[in-house]
Amino acid sequence: MQRIGVFVCHCGTNIAATVDVKTVAETLGKEPGVVISQDYQYMCSESGQNLVKDAIKEHNLTGIVICSCSPRMHENTFRKAAAAAGLNPYLVEIANIREQCSWIHKEIATATEKAVILGRAAIAKVHLNAPLTAGESPVVKKALVIGGGIAGIQTALDIAEAGFDVDIVEKNPTIGGKMAQIDKTFPTLDCAACILTPKMVEASQNERITIRSFSEVTDVKGFVGNFTVKIKKKARYVDETKCTGCGLCTEKCPMKKVPNEFNMGLDNRSAVYIPFAQAVPKVATIDPNYCMMLKTGKCGVCSKVCSVGAINYKQQDEIIEEKYGAIIVATGFNPISLDKYDEFAYGQSPDVVTSLELERLMNAAGPNGGTLLRPSDKTHPHTIVFVQCVGSRCDDSKGKPYCSKICCMYTAKHAMLIREKYPDTEVYVFYIDVRTPGKNFDEFYRRAVEQYNVHYIKGMVGKVTPKSDGKIDVQASDLLANEQLHINADMVVLAAAIEPDKTARPLATMLTTQMDTNDFFTEAHPKLRPVESATAGIFLSGACQGPKDIPETVAQASAAAAKAIGLLCKNSITCNPCVAHSNELMCNGCSSCEKVCPYGAITYIDKEFRMPDRTTKVRRVASVNPAVCQGCGACTVACPSGAMDLNGFSNSQIMAEVDAICK
């Protein structure tokens, strides 16, 4: 016989003002199975919890119902209290008589009546609650970092530092990401390569870190603590273990007209290439789209000049399968395509460039060896116009709705660097707002204005027109002067919005993580769990979660690492016990449940059954992996025989609630 305790909370006057809590407690006290029914001022307070605990002990309760605020508020509080008093925490049910009763109704009589009904439903349910124990599942002590930019590198270093193995999967031939392409960093103006490349080297030398460059994740199975990941190692036609990175092949390669993606296509590279001097791993890669040998079978120069015989034209893509306990996503960002912004004439004039292109133009390792020259005629530009918010802060139909966050600061940096190096150059920055929240950020921007005399104009460029004399007419408004300007510029630099990498969405599908409408990964909680995804064991690092500058990226990378380390430290993890389970005696093995399971938690086994008539029968039956199941219940409805049921929300429990409500 059940012995159920009912506890009705006043929540001060929050509940008691509209619900007659005494009547509720009294009425529910008469329900079959209820042995004690009490009301109290604040049930969640320590003394309130003690009241519950004492009652559990005194009346030897088999289940409790708390009529209080939403279970989303305090279900855990009361579960813990029950556990402390020796009652299984899953024998607790909450009747939500605050958010879903007292706060929305005004009449005491009807609100009280409803509170009683909600209480009855909870009692009906708790009658059928079963004590549940959380299962455990082992943790593979190894992490996977997807993306080898600064976020991925930092995360990997931190995890390795803590003593765990970690693999970095990078789709490009080298790690380094966007930061490797950047010239200087704000607000300190130190050289990006100087601070990044030592970290890249550190990562390559750390024996706990395996860098899988030129590789992509193709399949993810499993669950927190136990992911099985398939990684495609793309053929680079060079044996990584043999290549010394001497670069001779790249020099001798006759095919030299390949747009150099590292320099944003502003110059060319050879078909066999090393992206940049400090690349890690420093290994050549053959671009099959341009290599004459691979395309026509005629050439083979690189193979001839390679002294270690590292060239292998017959190399194939390779699939590697690895097990990981945690996965950190660090897929980063890209500037958006500017094709649809005709008014800025990007694509019409080579002298209209994006900010990232400007980084390369100014970089010592860039196409011009660090001298800022116009791409069109390699002359020195005297007037440069910067346009902010290109594609950011737009209506959905016009671009990205969000602020790309980093543009204000890097534009100030660019303006300052140009004015510093070429004081004869006039620099105009058209802005809508200058956003500089961050340590030393506003000071940095003020320096650009005050010390370097960069012309900041509040207003927007309306039209950019390349002229026949090679100049560029920039038509813009100056909102403060209330006039329209025409600037005869030599170069225009567009601060293109940034967006998540295109590989992020298919990856999210593989990882069963959520994304927002802009394809940024969604964090488990926007405030309290910013570096975890809602899917257990998947963490978020860097700009894949939202626009970030380098310090923020590194901070989040370390935070994600800390969360991953927290997981890897455990030998096993506790699973949610409210999971599906299949009654094998009723299961038909029809596979309906497996098809609707979003987590692949259901597998089938052929199992021998001893039939009541003493014969043996082998039947295919479903089996749920409780560590993988997240408890959605999709399978329970797909199952025609009703063999599949859900702990904590069983068919009979929900129907008991329905019955109680409809009584």
């Binding site: 093995g589 029809c590 596979s591 309906s592 098809k595 609707v596 089938y604 025989s641 009703g642 009979s652």
Partner: protein, 323 residues
């Protein structure tokens, strides 16, 4: 045809390909044919029958039979092959243990339609150039063949065998059928008219479970309606609600899995047009989620275990149809 089938079965028994044959066994009268398992040539010779009344879909017996020792030969009409495919897809039969011989389909006859004409004391029924010559204790009667055709055959959807190891006779094609006409007719009625129609039909239900037990999609180890733990078990329709409940849930459980073999309506002793419920689901699935024929193959995803991000909303039910 019967001769050819018996010979084929005897041959396959003799050469050891199969150890049993599922077919139809002659009864006491012209029409009372029972599905049966034959193990010897003698049994086949004596009782095996294939005629205008061998309408039963024997594929469901394979759930049991295919798991026994030795391969089983089964004669399947085109419509029955869809059922077998669906069972194969749901791992309810061991296809490797089945030897399917495809045989031509109907149209088969419905003895109830003959009896409904007031014809009684039937001793033999012969098809003479599409006129039925019916011998009775009270003299000979005739009626047009097509007036006695089973409803399920009258709206045949396919003459094509979707799975077989061997065919006797030619294979046919899927047909343009009028099978949704009645569903559409009902859809065009007012809500009240539909309600009245179904109340008068479903109130006849005696919960004999013949529809469920004959259905090749209803092969649950333990049906929810027989399982007291399911919370919805019941044995007799004690209230009009329970008549509705049973038929709605049963139709829902076979939705996307029902091949429209028509057995449910054929066996209903009360002549409730149960197939209309299944066809309603099939029609909805076809129109909302794209044409889908359960049992046409063994790999496709069933509509209810599948989705697309731009599926219609449930409110579509409110938006269409007459009131």
């Amino acid at each position: 045809m019967q001769e050819a089938m018996i010979n084929k079965a005897k041959q396959l028994l003799a050469d050891g390909t199969v150890s049993r044959v599922i077919g139809w066994k002659r009864g006491e009268f012209a029409y009372d044919i029972t599905p049966a398992v034959f193990e010897t040539a003698e049994e086949l010779e004596k009782d095996f029958v294939f005629d205008d009344f061998t309408s039963a879909n024997v594929s469901k017996y394979l759930v049991k039979e295919s798991k026994k020792e030795g391969k089983v030969l089964v004669f399947l009409k085109p419509c029955d092959t869809y059922s077998l495919n669906q069972l194969t897809k749901e791992h309810r039969v061991d296809r490797d243990n089945i030897y399917v011989v495809g045989i031509p389909g109907g149209p088969k006859l419905d003895i109830e339609k003959i009896k409904a004409k007031g014809i009684t004391g039937i001793t033999s029924v012969k098809n003479d150039n599409f006129t039925l010559k019916i011998e009775t204790l009270y003299g000979e009667e005739t009626m047009p063949f097509y007036e006695a055709v089973l409803d399920k055959c009258a709206s045949c959807k396919s003459k094509k065998h979707v799975t077989y190891d061997e065919l006797i006779g030619e294979d046919g094609d899927t047909l343009e059928s009028n099978r949704f006409d009645m569903v559409e007719q009902l859809e065009n009625m007012t809500s009240q008219e539909r309600y009245d129609f179904w109340r008068s039909e479903l109130s006849k239900c005696i919960r004999c479970n013949a529809c469920r037990n004959v259905c090749p999609a209803c092969t649950c180890e333990n049906c929810v309606f027989d399982n007291p733990a399911s919370g919805i078990d019941n044995k007799a329709p004690a209230d009009s609600f329970e008549e509705n409940m049973f038929h709605i849930i049963r139709a829902f459980h076979v939705a996307g899995r029902c091949t429209d073999c028509g057995e449910c309506s054929r066996v209903c002793p009360q002549h409730i047009p149960l197939h209309l419920l299944n066809r309603k689901f099939i029609k909805d699935i076809n129109s909302l989620y794209g044409e889908y024929q359960a049992g046409a193959d063994t790999t496709s995803r069933a509509p209810l275990t599948d989705y697309t991000a731009d599926d219609c909303e449930a409110s579509i039910v409110h938006e269409r149809g007459v009131e």
